[in-house]
Symmetry: C2
Subunit: 427 residues, 2 copies
């Protein structure tokens, strides 16, 4: 198992470098809102002036990642791309272990092609009576940093396929969690595909064509199309969620953290180098949130909105001081989001978050329907359960969010050339 | 009125240059699918190899367009950006002409800020009891070529506001059209906002914050979030719709065409320099389409799938020959999509298409739910009615598509500095 050999994210991700770069850009962008140009806005925006283009905003359509080798599947440690199509599938009644094996072999070959920016087969077969193997809508777009990450749900290891003995040790359906508001059509699945790319059409094409290859063996279950980058790569400013706050400042970055919290070790048998994936569709009541006072919003998160600094500091990457008090009160409330989520307050536990924003348009009340496609990777789903049990019970954010979708998957390691995903499951 | 002074799309958009560039890239990308790498795919892909990055795939987050001046609103002739959030609104019962006037003034000031990459107000007000004026999620993202284009629906000129005398001459609700399958929640609106940008979060933020500014005066009606580029700019390869076919090869490009078919002339009074916008949400049965033979798909469109050449030619930009026959049959069927839509067969009429792909996830049958957000601009909505009357009646494509959403709007000209959108409506 080689840690970080596959992804450019293995480069030094020094927060200091990030900060310096951001400060320089702040200075360059000063000036902000033209005074008086907008009715109702007096004064200047000061540090709220917008950042001009920085390196992290460049999109390279020709960038591609390897599918084979490196120990871990791409799409976990990979620098977050701008778009994500996440879909889960159920194995059809009557499908056998051999059908599942065949699908994983075909999906692996297809994913390897897609990640090179190639179609999964002929877009325009020479015989007019033939049906195209690839649907064609990504035919001129390049790889766009596509990664497709496969997950195996608990159902793969039930009575149906004779694979119970191979069940990853910690894979079981998530327990009911405080503040769950799950909708039937947005939970579970025997398989998951997370397709991330710099171009949404490339990500959509990948999932569409893999779903098509799966017809007769699996059926679609639920899906979310996400945008933005709710986790920061080394060259990226920390992205913002649809509450307007930075999300991912304290995310996992180092080799050591990945080894300790994300990757399964050599004792995990055929899953060695793999991980577990937890997906949650989290609806945000953004119109209610938007009406909240800035002071309360910042108390809810425990951070300032513009800079993203902990309320005990002045810069985004300052370490929060959860014990600091003022006038007898904690400066960061114990039930602030970052306090409840912090590893310092959870026995040192960290998980890798790799989330995306989503919108479902307008709801039945005419309000904007939007939220977060939360995707996290960890070597023990119990870590998520532990965190969410506390967050779901006490988080001040709960007033504004609702967990409506949920699923958990085992994420097998990357196959070596000549092999396919989860091949050892069948041997 | 200065034609093309505002947009870089006024540059020479020679199809020849485009073709040469594309041919070069095809050669560079040859090799295609590794033989045998994918089960079931024999041979090579030949000309179906994917194009590597080309100039048109670069995203420049710092690019911005002017809101004021130039005669026409941005977002019409502007080189299509990668993302679009389209939303319509109804004026609330009890709102007056003065309320509408105030909203258009405030929206204009807000749009001018947003298009510069600036927030519409304070993201983090200094007083903790204040509510932020900007929701903040685009606070680090730059302008990303954002354009926001406002439309006024027929309802603005009904009995409510005393503005009937100012009604744009050709603005009235679209008539019922053949093959309409409209859903109540996806039609009409008193106002429309089309926000297009290279970053979806920037486009979403713009519409969200404008909708927020409108609370108390207008309510949301329907929305679509689109991706891809279904119309070709001068430096862009022709994008593909979710049927895998190129869409926009014969789109309007030249100054003469814009003058003749898009912009309203000096006889249009306060609407001079404006246009009309027709929006249609077109659902595609993509899973049924994907099962169709390639020969039939090409007959339906009248073009080849990979190259996008008319069936009477070999290159994308070859002019279709609708009279050519072979063995007594038309080579391009008279009811092929491009035959029914062609200006040669519609008394010379052309419209500017500026469409985006969309996905709504999975439908109740477990099938992929996706389609086209068709947006078109023209100086006479009757041109769309004429085209769609024929297409809706005879188009072979009707077997695979369904028009589920529809609206029409008058698009006023851009305001000069110091003024606001549709200001002359109130004088």
């Amino acid at each position: 198992m080689t840690d970080g050999s596959q992804d450019p994210t293995a480069r030094d991700a020094s927060p200091r470098r990030e900060q310096l770069s951001r400060r320089g850009l702040f200075a360059a962008g000063a000036g902000g809102l033209a005074a008086g140009a907008l009715a109702g806005v007096g004064g200047t925006l000061a540090a709220q002036a917008l950042l001009p283009k920085d390196q992290g905003d460049a999109v390279d359509a020709s960038r591609s990642y390897p599918f084979y080798g490196g120990g871990h599947q791409a799409g976990i440690r990979t620098e977050p791309q701008r778009h994500c199509v996440y879909m889960t599938f159920d194995v059809d009644a009557g499908s056998t272990a051999a059908d599942l094996q065949s699908l994983l072999a075909r999906w692996s070959a297809g994913i390897a092609q897609l990640m090179k920016g190639r179609p999964v087969g002929l877009v325009e077969p020479p015989r007019s009576g033939a049906v195209a193997q690839d649907t064609g809508e990504a035919a001129d777009l390049g790889p766009n940093a596509l990664t497709v990450t496969l997950g195996l749900g608990p159902g793969v290891f039930d009575h149906r396929f004779g694979l119970a003995a191979k069940r990853p040790r910690l894979l079981r359906p998530l327990p009911a969690l405080p503040s769950d508001n799950l909708q039937d059509g947005l939970t579970g699945g025997d398989l998951s595909l997370q397709a991330c790319a710099e171009d949404p059409q490339v990500a959509y094409h990948a999932v569409r064509d893999l779903a098509r290859m799966g017809r007769g063996t699996v059926s679609t279950r639920w899906t979310v199309m996400g945008f933005g980058r709710a986790s920061a790569g080394p060259d990226q400013a920390t992205p913002r969620n649809l509450m307007g706050f930075k999300d991912g400042t304290r995310n996992i970055r180092s080799d050591d953290e990945f080894r300790e919290f994300v990757w399964l070790g050599d004792d995990a048998d055929w899953m060695s180098g793999g991980s577990y994936q937890v997906a949650r569709k989290i609806q945000m009541d953004i119109e209610i949130w938007d009406a909240d006072e800035i002071g309360d919003q910042q108390t809810v998160f425990g951070r300032s909105k513009s800079e993203g600094a902990p309320l005990t500091g002045t810069r985004e990457f300052d370490t929060p001081d959860f014990r600091k008090t003022s006038h007898g009160e904690h400066v960061i409330a114990p039930n602030a989001h970052i306090a409840l989520a912090a590893h310092e307050n959870n026995g040192g536990v960290k998980i890798l978050r790799r989330s995306y924003n989503y919108t479902d348009g307008i709801n039945q009340y005419g309000q904007l329907d939007a939220g977060l496609l939360f995707i996290a990777y960890m070597n023990d789903p119990g870590h998520f359960v532990r965190l969410q049990t506390r967050l779901g019970s006490y988080d001040r954010l709960n007033e504004y969010i609702s967990h409506i979708g949920s699923a958990v998957f085992a994420v097998p390691p990357a196959p070596e050339p000549g092999h396919f995903l989860a091949e050892r499951l069948f041997s």
